[in-house]
Amino acid sequence: MVWLLLTALYFLVPLIATFLFSLRKVTTNACCSLAAYGFVLHNGDFWHTLRVSFVLALEVIVICLILFVPTIYWVHLKLPKLRPLIAFLALIPFVVPPIVMVVGILKVFKGTPSWFYDQPNGILAATYVILAFPYMFFSLDAGFRSIDVHTLTEASQSLGASWPTTLLKVILPNIRAAALAGSFLALAIVMGEFTIANLAQFHTFPIFLQYVNETQPYGAAALTLISFGITWGAMLSLLLIGRKRGGQLPLAAGRR
């Protein structure tokens, strides 16, 4: 119980402190005013960058799921010897510093069409897919390990289902929890990534956060709490959507 309390304090104290700080008046530094929240919510850049980052996050999640679900499914089903290699590749984004990655990527893709190179939904999304790869891979990998991929696939095929039907109707609903976990992590990465967006000169939500932090200390505290709430709200929405679609079942229900 004591440990639980200590753990709760560890997470809650900074939030409470930030909240109290955000209530101070700009003019007198005294409590209490909602002016900082008003500043954030009435700022056009806030809504613009929030929209950019959210669209970017959804794009990254969709690309990751489309790319990685069939790949990891196939590896589990037909090429299990490749799994250690992919797990190794998934670690590379952890090892390569973001600054090195962004410099390399910008150089390699220089000269590509402007709809790709100059747009956050182009090159930035592609880079974030790489950043999200390890999180997505290890989440999905755990999901595929928790079900009997071979038997479910063969059972589905023996009943007449094609590969796409098997993947969409049988496999995907049973790795839903893993896919959601990977999606949460991808969302969190995109909503918080600063280095790459800054160096690539894209105006995303973390860039706006940094700007406010430098110019409006109380506004920055308010913005931090708002973004915290928005991110958690988005995760909750994903969770609810996932639940609604898949019914209720335990994570490892498919395993013998």
Binding site: I147, D148, T151, L152, E154, A155, S156, Q157, S158, L159, G160, A161, S162, T165, K169, V170, P173, N174, R176, G246, G247, L249, P250, A253, G254, R256
Partner: protein, 366 residues
């Protein structure tokens, strides 16, 4: 013409030959079991029929049509797996309905068929339960209903009962047979449990090392095994390695003891043979201190194993005899006994040097 034919099927995995040219024919509505120990190739054969694997050589023919190269989802074969294979995200009803949806059946038609099949397997009351809310036996019943829902041309069962406890296993195997007879569906059943295979099959094919050792009715397999392996694999068997002494009288020599069996008549002198005697055919009696004579072998009781109505006695010299529990109590462990080998009803087969046997295996451990 046979309904399902497996013709000269070969399949290797690297240097390991899993199937070495097997041939099986099933008539329509027939129930054949592939029986054998682990690694004998029985599941490989079933997977080739299902289309999950392709043979190196050979053909699979259904109703005169070669389906060897046809994808598994186009074969119309219902399959029940060893592992629990129900889709965890679907209820029992949705699982059974899945194949019908794939085939584009109308909703009303689907529902009717699903209800009918769940009733057939005795699970009408559990239609809305998810797999994790069902016991192992119930899951396999739903899997059977699901496989039957698509009205498959052939039903394939890959050790569907092996994960279940003994009582459920016996109950479910009888239900499988009942349903198979009721629907008249051609069925290929894979098992390593000889009791299961003998109890429910029209024919049994005993496999070993990628080949079919013998195929026949359960009675044939039990009473007239053609190879040492089949003799030992089907039921428990006393195996007396012997040499023919006199082919005219049927006298043989087993461990220096002369005994006479009718089945050894006509064999040439000096021929190495295996005399096969079922435990229930071996008569045991207290020796009363006298030496064994006539068609008898002497020994000492080593163990008693209570099997319910009968007790199995293990006797020195590798002999096993089944007798009523009441009679067995008169021959306690350590007592000297004589075992009478009947002259009739005993199987004798030639013993080639390279014959596969379960050598080294306790004959009681089957």
């Amino acid at each position: 013409m046979a309904y399902l034919e497996l013709q000269e099927l070969h399949r290797s995995f690297g240097s390991h030959i899993a199937l070495n040219g097997i041939n099986i024919s099933l008539d329509q509505g027939e129930f054949i079991s592939l029986l054998g120990p682990s690694g004998c190739g029985k599941t490989t054969a079933l997977r080739l029929v299902a289309g999950f694997d392709r043979p190196d050589h050979g053909r699979i023919v259904v109703e005169g049509r070669d389906v060897t190269g046809v994808a598994p989802n186009k074969r119309d074969m219902g399959m029940v797996f060893q592992a629990y294979s129900l889709f965890p995200n679907m209820t029992a009803k949705q699982n059974v309905e899945f194949g019908l949806k794939i085939r584009g059946r109308e909703k009303g038609q689907r529902r009717g068929r699903v209800d009918e099949l769940l009733e057939l397997v005795g699970l009408g009351h559990a239609a809305d339960r998810y797999p994790f809310q069902l016991s192992g036996g119930m899951q396999q019943r739903v899997a059977l209903a699901r496989a039957l829902a698509i009205e498959p041309r052939v039903l394939l069962l890959d050790e569907p009962l092996s994960a279940l406890d003994a009582k459920v296993r016996v109950q479910l195997r009888e239900e499988i047979r009942r349903i198979q007879l009721e629907l008249g569906i051609t069925t290929l059943y894979v098992t390593h449990d000889q009791e299961e295979a003998l109890a429910i099959s029209d024919k049994v094919a005993v496999m070993y090392g990628g080949v079919i050792e013998q195929m026949g009715t359960p009675l044939d397999m039990y009473t007239a095994p053609l190879t040492p392996f089949v003799a030992e694999f089907i039921g428990t068997m006393n195996r007396l390695e012997s040499t023919v002494v006199d082919g005219t009288t049927g006298e043989i020599d087993h461990d220096g003891k002369r005994i006479r069996v009718d089945a050894a008549r006509g064999r040439s002198q000096g021929e190495r043979v295996l005399v096969l005697v079922r435990p229930e055919s071996l008569e045991l009696a207290a020796s009363n201190g006298t030496a064994a004579n006539g068609n008898t072998l002497a020994g000492e009781v080593i163990t008693h194993t209570f099997l319910g109505p009968v007790t199995r006695l293990k006797v020195t010299g590798g002999l096993i005899a089944d007798m009523s529990t009441a009679r067995a109590s008169a021959l306690p462990v350590g007592s000297s006994v004589v075992a009478t080998v009947p002259t009739e009803g005993v199987q004798v087969i030639s013993l080639p040097d390279d014959a596969p046997t379960l050598a080294g295996r306790d004959p009681d451990d089957q």
